[in-house]
Amino acid sequence: MLEVKGIENGIVLDHITSGNGLKVFDKMNLAEVDYPVVLVMNVESKRLGRKDIIKIENTFDVDLTILGLIDSNISVNLIKNGKLVDKKQAILPEIIHGLIECHNPRCITNFDDYTKPTFKRISTDPLEYECNYCEEVTEYKL
């Protein structure tokens, strides 16, 4: 059986629905960072049957906003000195700043690099966000 050791300090993203791990890794730009990151896919889970896990070591300064948009199953564990000090569930963000693009082809945020697209959640069912610049409402599907 594959074994990945625990981390001393950092963040563990647990209970990622199997198959979503790579998407989270990609959307959080974890390939670009200079601290250790481990992506484990398809491991056994009592709750989910199979799950993915991401361990991010030696930093707490990570933007977790995107998690709730990808997978509401994800639990976020903060580890300090080898101990779990906080555990929370990924939530749907109310405001998204710079992580996704506006789907409106006429929106200025798709043309002017100076600005970061910003969105406000206006509905959870369906999950809809409104662009702060062009007010286009987009049903969000990652």
């Binding site: 409106n104 006429r106 929106c107 200025i108 945020t109 798709n110 043309f111 002017d112 690099d113 100076y114 600005t115 662009c131 702060n132 610049y133 062009c134 007010e135 286009e136 409402v137």
Partner: protein, 309 residues
């Protein structure tokens, strides 16, 4: 940026009281323009037109000149450093040294809002793509006020392109704030009001909305008929435009059942959606509407500049 500077990006930037204040001042300026001939002496308006415009640009130019102010700006972005790839933020930061107030028209939606975030002078949205056109809304409100003496309690019908027509979106949202009796939407299925806007109207305002496809079915109950052009530049392909461009044409004979005091409005330019013989009908107010636009823009410029009148 200076958070005390007021901008007009969308009609919601103004309270109902401020809207009334502006149209009442606009009405005074319309009645006695010479009283305000020096109100903006020494001030400069920059008109930043990233796409062509006749009415809005000249209306603002005329407004500033009638207030005794001066003008700078461009009406073709290709002749400026924008062509070299300059960002809106950089353009605005520099323009703030040259002018006291700016009006911006841009083909991309949200561009004036972006400009306002980097501006120490007031920015007025002169139209951004298919999104908002708040000074057209103020023009429309002054026209309604001028002919109907109040903004509240009317049955207003919008006819034509309700999907891409930014003047319609801005006006409908604003009229909903003034106790509109009923709002009738007349359009082909392909050009209906966006569902998100309909939902917003339902959720925020207690307003009766009726959707029909034929003007003749509802013309008897209309107080204000707002006609729109099917705009070629908002379509992605020529085929869709050609299919819909002749959808709704108002002729004099079709007005026979309309109320005597109904008014016919249009943001102009028209193509063929209002037959020329309608111009002679006393209910046709669209040319006077363009005239009133100058005075409400004068009122807006003085308000945003904080001119003591």
């Amino acid at each position: 940026m200076n958070s005390h500077v007021r901008h007009l990006i969308e009609p919601e930037d103004l309270t109902n009281e401020e809207i009334y204040e502006l149209i009442e001042l606009g009405e005074k300026m319309y009645q006695n323009p010479s009283d305000y001939a020096d109100a903006c002496k020494g001030k400069i308006l920059a008109s930043l037109f990233y796409e062509p415009s006749t009415r809005t640009k000249f209306s603002f130019d005329s407004a500033m000149l009638r207030l005794g102010g001066n003008l700078i700006g461009f009406s073709d972005a290709n002749a400026t450093s924008v062509k070299k790839g300059e960002s809106i933020a950089d353009t605005i930061k520099v323009m703030c040294f040259y002018a006291d107030i700016a009006v911006m028209r841009h083909p991309k939606e949200g561009a004036p809002k972006l400009a306002s975030q980097h501006s120490s002078m007031p920015i007025i949205n002169g139209g951004d793509g298919g999104h908002q056109h708040p000074t057209q809304t103020l023009t429309d409100l002054l026209t309604i006020y001028n002919y109907k003496k109040k903004l509240e309690g009317h049955t207003i019908a919008f006819c034509g392109d309700l999907k891409y027509g930014r003047t319609v979106h801005s006006l409908i949202r604003t009229m909903a704030r003034f106790d509109t009796k009923k709002c009738i939407l007349i359009s082909p299925e392909e050009l209906q009001l966006p569902p998100s806007l309909k939902r917003q109207l339902n959720e925020r305002y207690d307003i009766e909305i009726e959707e029909v496809t034929q003007l003749q079915d509802v013309i008897e109950e209309i107080d204000i008929l707002y006609m729109t052009r099917i705009q070629k530049e908002r379509f992605f392909n020529e085929e869709d435009y050609l299919k819909l461009k002749n959808s709704y044409i108002l002729t004099r004979s079709r007005l026979s059942k309309a109320k005597e005091d109904m008014i016919i409005m249009h943001p102009l330019p028209r193509v063929n959606e209002i037959a020329y013989d309608v111009d002679e009908d006393p209910r046709a107010v669209y040319f006077e509407q363009s005239n009133l636009g100058v005075y409400v823009r004068m009122a807006l410029i003085t308000k945003l500049l904080g001119v003591d009148l």
